[in-house]
Structure formats: C-alpha cells, structure tokens
C-alpha cells in the first residue's frame, strides 16, 4: 500500500509564480515603500554621531518619561555600552527595522482594532485570523515573506509587521470595547457625532489598553527582527546568527547584550509614556 504523493509544493509554487507574474508590480511598490521607511529611519538615527545621539536621546527619554531619572541614566549607559562594544551601526539598523515595522503594524493595526470594536462583522472576520496567527510559531512567518520578497531586509520586515500586528489589533479592540457603557451614553447624550465620540471619549479612555498593545507590538517587532536575520535582515540579529554559526561566543554574547539593552529601553520607554489610571 503506497500513499500517492500529492504535489502540494509544486501547486503552491506555480500559484506563487502566477501571483508574481500578475501582481508583481504591487509587491515592487510595497517593497520600495518598505525600503524607503527603513532607510528613512536609519538616516534620521545616523544623523548624529554616537555621543551626540546618546545626549539627545537621554534628554528625550527624560522628557517623555516625565523625569524618570533612573530610566534616563540607564538609557545613556546602555547606549554608551553599545558604542563601546563597537555595535553602534548594527544597533541603529536594528532600531530602524523595529521602528519601521512597528510603525506599519500600528498604522494598520490600530484602525483595524477600532473597526473590529465597532463592527461585529469585521470582528468575526478578524478574530479567527488573529487566533490562528497566535497559534503559529514566529518562524513560520518567514516562509511566505521569503516566497514573495526573496531575501533581505524587506521580507524580514514584512514577516515582522505581520507578526507584530495582532496585539495592536487585539488590545485596541479590547480597549474600545471596555469603555464603560455610561461613558458612551455621556457622549451620545451630549450629541456627539460618532467621530467625536471616538476621538473625545473612546480613544482617550481606551488609551492605556491601546498603549499596552503598542508596547507589545514594539517588543514583538524587536524579537522578530532578530529572528528575521535568518532570511537576510541586517542588524544585531545577523551578528547573533553569525556568532552562532561560527560558535563565536564573544561576538554572539555582545550582540545579544546589545539586543537586550535595546529591548529594555524600548519597553520602559513605551511603558512610561502610557497614561496611568
């Protein structure tokens, strides 16, 4: 008894070729757009030399964290350490990738979350997709990205965007659904349009929850950007990968430490700008 071989791989392949032939131009546009975002962020971040950058970022952190001195000093020391390990450019590249992917994920994810909260039909479509995405290991996201965009920063970012978007959608949806009925009634009773209700009542009230989504989105972006090194994304992740392949403990450890520093700073920063109850 022989189970016949089903040519799943071949079928998918020809499907992908078909998509590439017919919609390739769309993917090119998307690709260019992503490239533009990444280099844009990189240019901005690279504009200042490390010392000046550390100075400026510390002041910025001090202001947005509402005078959190511990966080400010920690940030300065962390970035100084990165520079002293000679990982500056790679770190900036990683941060640029994180910012670019988180930006796209949020710009798409938050409005989607709002619509899912407002419209049961959209919610019933979005929810199973999110549930399905949650069951998949992060690794799996790399495959379709490679299929459509080849190797490099762009597929890495595409995989990252898709991977990091669910918490933004989920928590925005949750935050808006959790707005107390009476506050909605207040909005209605005072004659708001639905746009006014959203902007003046629902979003501000849901903001702490939405910001938790933003935080998760950024943190997932970072973790995925590192993994995406496997399909050619640059930055610290690539350095870790090389360290592993060559069993170069020193290089691997330093790059890993750089990632941890960036992770802590990004996490604390997004948490500290979340409004407290």
């Amino acid at each position: 008894m022989v189970i016949p071989e089903i040519p799943i791989g071949k079928v998918v392949e020809s499907g992908v070729y078909w998509l590439n032939d017919n919609f390739g131009f769309l993917m090119d546009i998307f690709s260019k757009f992503i490239d533009f975002l990444i280099s844009g962020f990189k240019d901005i971040l690279m504009f200042l030399p490390p010392i000046a950058f550390i100075f400026v970022i510390s002041i910025l952190v001090y202001i947005v964290s509402r005078r959190d001195l511990k966080l400010t000093i920690g940030t300065a020391i962390g970035f100084a350490l990165i520079e002293s390990m000679d990982l500056w450019n790679l770190s900036i590249e990683t941060i640029a990738l994180v910012l670019a992917s988180a930006l796209v994920a949020l710009v798409v994810g938050i409005p989607t979350g709002i619509m899912a909260a407002k419209n049961e039909t959209i919610f019933s479509i979005v929810k199973p997709v999110l549930d399905f995405m949650q069951t998949m290991p992060s690794f799996v996201y790399l495959i379709p990205a490679v299929i459509f965009f080849g190797l490099g920063n762009v597929p890495g970012l595409v995989a990252t965007i898709v991977f990091a978007m669910p918490p933004a959608i989920r928590l925005t949806n949750l935050g808006i659904r959790q707005v107390p009925v009476e506050l909605r009634e207040v909005a209605n009773a005072f004659g708001t349009t639905s746009m006014q209700k959203l902007i003046k009542v629902e979003l501000p009230v849901a903001l702490p929850t939405i910001m938790a989504g933003v935080n998760q989105c950024i943190m997932l972006s970072l973790s995925m950007v590192v993994i995406a090194a496997m399909i050619g994304a640059r930055g610290l992740g690539y350095q870790v990968l090389v360290g592993i392949q060559r069993v170069d403990i020193a290089q691997g450890f330093e790059a890993g430490l750089g990632i941890v520093i960036i992770a802590i700073v990004l996490d604390r920063l997004t948490q500290s700008i979340t409004p407290k109850e």
């Binding site: 207040v186 005072f190 004659g191 501000p204 409004p275 109850e277």
Partner: protein, 349 residues
Amino acid sequence: MNFDVYEGETFVLMGLSGSGKSTLLRCLNRLIDPSDGHILIDGDDIATMNDKELREARRKKMSMVFQSFALLPHKTVIDNVAFGLEVQGIPKEERYTKAEEAIVKVGLKGHEASKTSQLSGGMQQRVGLARALATDPDILLMDEAFSALDPLIRSEMQDELIALQDKLKKTIVFVSHDLDEALKIGDRIAIMKDGVIAQIGTAEEILTNPADDYVSEFVAGVDRTKILTAENVMKRPEPVVSINSGLTVAMQLMKKHGISSIFVVDPEKTIKGILLIDDAVKAVKEKRTLHDVLITDVPTVAPDEPVKDIIPMVAESQFPLAVVNERNKLLGVIVRGSILGALTIKEED
C-alpha cells in the same frame, strides 16, 4: 402610557428596581430607541427625528446626569464640565467661561484643574450636574443622580438641587427608587410598575389617594409626617360660636357635640379665641360675659405646616390647634385624633 411633563417642574419617575424607570428616561433622549409612540418637546417629536436633528436636540435642549457620575477620566474638572460645549464646537475661551459659571453654580469653585478621580463622590456628582448645566439646556434628565452618595451628602445634594431649581426653573425628569427623595424634590411623581405608570400626581395626591393596591403598598413605608400638612389632617371647624352670641349658646353647642372647648370667631370667621366649658360654667354662675373668660392666646398653624412640626404643638397644648390663613381666618381644627387618623392608611378603597 401617556404623560405630560410641565415646563419648569421637577417630575420624578419612581418605582422598584426593574420597573423601567431608566428605560423610560433613556427614551426621552433616545439613548434607547422607543419601539413605538411619540415624545414631544416643544412640539417636535424626538422619536421620529433623524440623526442630525436628534444630535441638535441632545446638544441644545436636554442633558443628562448619571448615577455613576460617568465623568471622563482623562479630563480635568473644567474640561468635563465643558464637554457638551466642546462637542458643539464652541471655542475654548467661550466654553471655559460658560463652564466656569456652571462650576460656580454647583459650588465647585477652586477645583477647576483637579483630576476628577481625586474628588469625593459628592463632588464628582457636582461635576456631573455642572456638565449638564453648562450647555444651558431646558431639560435635565437625572437617572438616580444621588443614589450612589451616602445619606448625608445625598440629602445635602437634594437640598442644593431644590435651591438651584428655584433659581433656574429647568424642567427636570428625575429617576429615583427612593420614595423619600421623590417626595422631597418632586413637584409631581409618577409611580412605575412593570414598565407602565401606575399613578401620576403630587406627593399629597399619591399619599392621600393611592390609585391602586400597588401604589398604596408602595407608599406605606413613607414617613407621612414629613409630607402631610396641617391642611391634610385638619377637621372642619365645626362647631364654632360667634363672638356676638352669648355664653349659653356656646355651652349648648359644646354639650350637643360632646366637646370641652369651642373656637370663637367673628362674622368673617376670623379667630377670636377659645372658650373652655369649665370657664363658661363658672362665668355663667358669676354673671360674667363671654369676653371675660375668652382665651385669646390660642395656638395657630398655617395650612401648609408639615405634620412633623405640628405633632409637638398638639402634644404640648391643652386645646385643639386652629389652622388659620394669613388673615387669621379659621380654616380647620386639629386634635390629636385627627393626626393619628390621617397617618394610618385606610385599608379600604
């Protein structure tokens, strides 16, 4: 059901939990869409308005005060108060001026920049009230506005609402499940049961003449002495004796009615005093006149005096109380028995 709320009155919707008070109130500004029927405000039917007209009515005509205050947590006191104006697109300066007026009205001056979460419950509801007043609507809808407050603050807020209403003369529809509150602040009260109105009337009408068993049971627990007035418990001033008649006439009248004292009035029914039977007997023996033994220092009360305040007077005085109008015309008589009678609910009818 069908009912009118008059301009400038405080109309209380009253009933047990689940009787449909909030639902009815929310139909008035269509937070809940009525399935049928009409809601007329100045002749415009709220129930059939399109979205735009409805928004306009909600912005200008009526506003709402909520049981759980429902303040916007991200806004300061003054921004909460100015919310209705902000929604109308009024520029910041003007809306702060108006919001400030409302804040002063509810006695929150000095707290404009506070976070609402820092305020006590009573103060939070003042913000809620100020927010409703800031748009200067004709109609205030208040859903158990004071129920979340502890009793002392609550009673204080009720007094302030009454005082404010005296000045502002808004049309208030107030939902309450507390009968004492309803009786205190309501000009008229509607008692609801299972989504329909069982009776509408003034406090007195409902207490003295409940429409059905449900209403009379509902009002059974009320402290009637606060609601009923001298007018409700007095008896007809009969018999009285004219100041111009003699002692013998007075004595005959007392004997005939089995009473030990009698009020003496002039032809205009103005009260002149009271005559006791013992004095009358003595005076006849001593050949003195009515004028000589007439007790002119009689206790009197106004017809709108609450029974609560009358009870101690009745207890102290050895004579019946005379109920008189401002020109001292005798309107009625109160004896101990008449108060007791009025306070016990009639089981029949």
